[in-house]
Symmetry: C2
């Protein structure tokens, strides 16, 4: 059965999944890049994001790599796709990732503002879904052709899927950083009451990795 998975989603020690004041210059919010040091050091991210041959193997890389295994489609909240808010002023914004994005599969972007699909190089097509999270998941599952669907975030979108118990498995990394404010991943979410439990716990010098699974 195709799963809905969150992978490599990183929070700070004080629980924030992104820093405050997200904009074009700070796609992860102010201070948010400190969260991702563990990931950026991995061979997997060096390859996927920068096409480089460097990066480290080991526990962090194992977790980074599992995030790309058996993924047939992605779902992203609109703020992860870009800094534009409200109705699309034009078609110019084509994502943070250039003409050949890291996904290489169909990506379903949740938004309140319709837009034609964007066919990018390398197999990525951005589809803009205005009919809500359930339909986005249906379309993503169909597009994934039996593989899993990866939910990229952000915090608000993950919370919406958690509240409906639609997420099967969630890998969360806890980075040794403090953000102080921003969006807290587990704010107002009672995971045990929703039937989730921590099923894996391993740590490297750069991050603590946990897997939270629906029981």
């Amino acid at each position: 059965m195709s799963k809905l998975r969150v992978e490599s989603f990183t929070i700070s020690l004080d629980g924030f999944g992104a820093g405050p004041s997200q904009d074009l210059n700070n796609p992860l919010g102010v201070g948010g890049t400190a969260l991702h040091e563990w990931a950026l050091a991995t061979q997997t991210f060096q390859r996927k994001l920068f096409g480089g041959s460097g990066g480290e193997t080991g526990l962090d890389d194992d977790f980074a790599a599992r995030g790309f295994h058996n993924v047939g489609a992605w779902i992203l909240g609109r703020n992860m796709f870009g800094p534009v808010r409200g109705p699309w002023p034009d078609e110019r914004w084509r994502g943070w990732w250039g003409e050949n994005p890291v996904y290489h599969v169909p990506v379903f972007v949740l938004t309140n503002h319709a837009r034609a699909p964007l066919v990018m190089d390398g197999g990525t097509t951005f589809h803009f879904v205005t009919e809500g999270i359930t339909l986005a998941l249906e379309r993503a599952r169909e597009a994934a052709g039996g593989k899993d669907v990866r939910l990229g975030g952000g915090v608000n979108v993950i919370q919406q899927y958690l509240r409906q118990r639609l997420i099967d498995e969630m890998h969360v990394a806890i980075a040794p950083a403090l953000l102080g404010s921003g969006e807290r991943l587990f704010q107002g979410i009672d995971l045990p009451a929703l039937g989730y439990a921590c099923t894996k716990h391993e740590a490297s010098p750069r991050a603590t990795h946990v897997v939270i699974s629906r029981q």
Copy 2:
């Protein structure tokens, strides 16, 4: 200079320092004991709490042990001293720890309800302070005779001291457990804005240990 230190204070993955519904049967709240598995497994806790000779050494024990080094006095919130709320109905409640508590130094209990000091066996005296956190710290420092003061908690008391930047150093353990509700340690606290940073980060299979220090 005598420091004010928080030690071995454990939070869940979702950020809670104690579970909900704290009472006589659940001094750490429902589910709260899962937080402390790392500590209970250590040689230090086995000795200090149960007088036993068992328990493990290693990273968890190193962190448990440092919490007792150079401590000349403690400060506790009233709810950590016991489940009694409001005015003391009588003098019968003498703490969770029996006649020879684990402290062996003066302990200053923050409360709104005056009570005569309680002299226990083994060097522990509970002093009840109704004049607020700053005076409690002054009295604890004086009693500590040059050693440090350890702040035991709970969450609300730690937050009060953090907001006034009175805590020098805070060892927080993050346990691979989910509580879902309760008291969140960093709720409404902007640590970077208060001048705190993460200065140490190490993990064992049972917990991630971080030290957060005032800069």
